[in-house]
Symmetry: C2
Subunit: 156 residues, 2 copies
DNA sequence: CACATACCTGACTTATTTGTCAGGTACTGG
DNA sequence: CCAGTACCTGACAAATAAGTCAGGTATGTG
């Protein structure tokens, strides 16, 4: 379970935009410098984000990028999805088909409930954290413990 | 946040071993057939798992692989870690350093608490599910909702 | 309207992950 | 002690992700 470069750098770039309180667009060059990334790479990442409508560009002198909505109304989850993000359960099962066209387990998969639970949870966590919350210093995220159990009639 | 092929197929292979109730080793060929994977690929995956000591091989005729402990004493988390698994917080911060040697954010990173919370949680979920629980039909995993908040003095 | 600024975008290179191949080693049975 | 079975292992090939390059387009200023 890996965090991709797209996700990490994409979130970091959009956090830079969220920091921009005066409403003026922020240049790619500035973002690249602040994050220690190349201009070309930041352009590519921001282009991806702008296609999803989360950010928009302003061309010409004094141009740059800015959020299309206040940062309190944009969740991390939305950004993650725009960046490729966490797969849905269908995507997971459709992705690992081995040598076959479809997964050999069909709907009798022991692993599927695990992936579904984890990914659903991660989605729900990310959907509840707006960008604004990341800017307020050390964010505290508390998560109550889960329980896992098989149907009682089969347990033993 | 992607599930890797190693994790998916590694877990599926070890589930096949966990199904083997008579204590006899299971051949690579059988696993490959049941999972729709090539023999060579399954060999590679099982070799990785055997290096970590979770499974062991029996050579020669009637040989194969088996778990080194009862499946009730092996957690998914342990298997995931053997397969590359979920990164620790240090690994995440050390991985995305852009053009620099180290991440430009040092310890003032807005994103770090998010990754730490999520990965800690995922670890704790996986560590609590033993392989035996996966075999008992449809596993139910319930997770109570999390809360996220910034320190009150900075909120607004 | 010319020019500088700064975004736009597809093609390309490089790195990493995924999956295969080939030849080797250990064990068992006759 | 020979032959067949089945694991062992490094090197290679293919696919995907990460990151760069080059030339283009829109906008504001004098």
């Amino acid at each position: 379970m890996k965090i991709t470069a797209q996700e990490e750098y994409g979130l970091r770039c959009i956090i830079q935009l969220a920091r921009q309180t005066n409403g003026e667009p922020l240049m790619v060059r500035d973002i690249a410098e602040r994050e220690g990334l190349s201009i070309a790479y930041v352009e590519k990442i921001l282009w991806t984000l702008s296609r999803s409508g989360i950010i928009e560009s302003v061309r010409g002198p004094k141009g740059g990028y800015r959020l299309t909505r206040p940062c309190s109304e944009i969740s991390i989850g939305e950004v993650m999805r725009a960046l490729g993000g966490i797969p849905s359960q269908e995507e997971i099962c459709g992705q690992f088909t081995g040598n076959q066209e479809t997964c050999v387990h069909h709907d009798k998969c022991d692993l599927q409930p695990v992936w579904v639970s984890i990914t659903d949870f991660v989605h729900s966590v990310f959907d509840r954290i707006p960008l604004s919350q990341l800017l307020q210093g050390k964010l505290e995220v508390k998560m109550v413990q889960m329980t896992a159990k098989a149907p009682a009639n089969l347990a033993g």
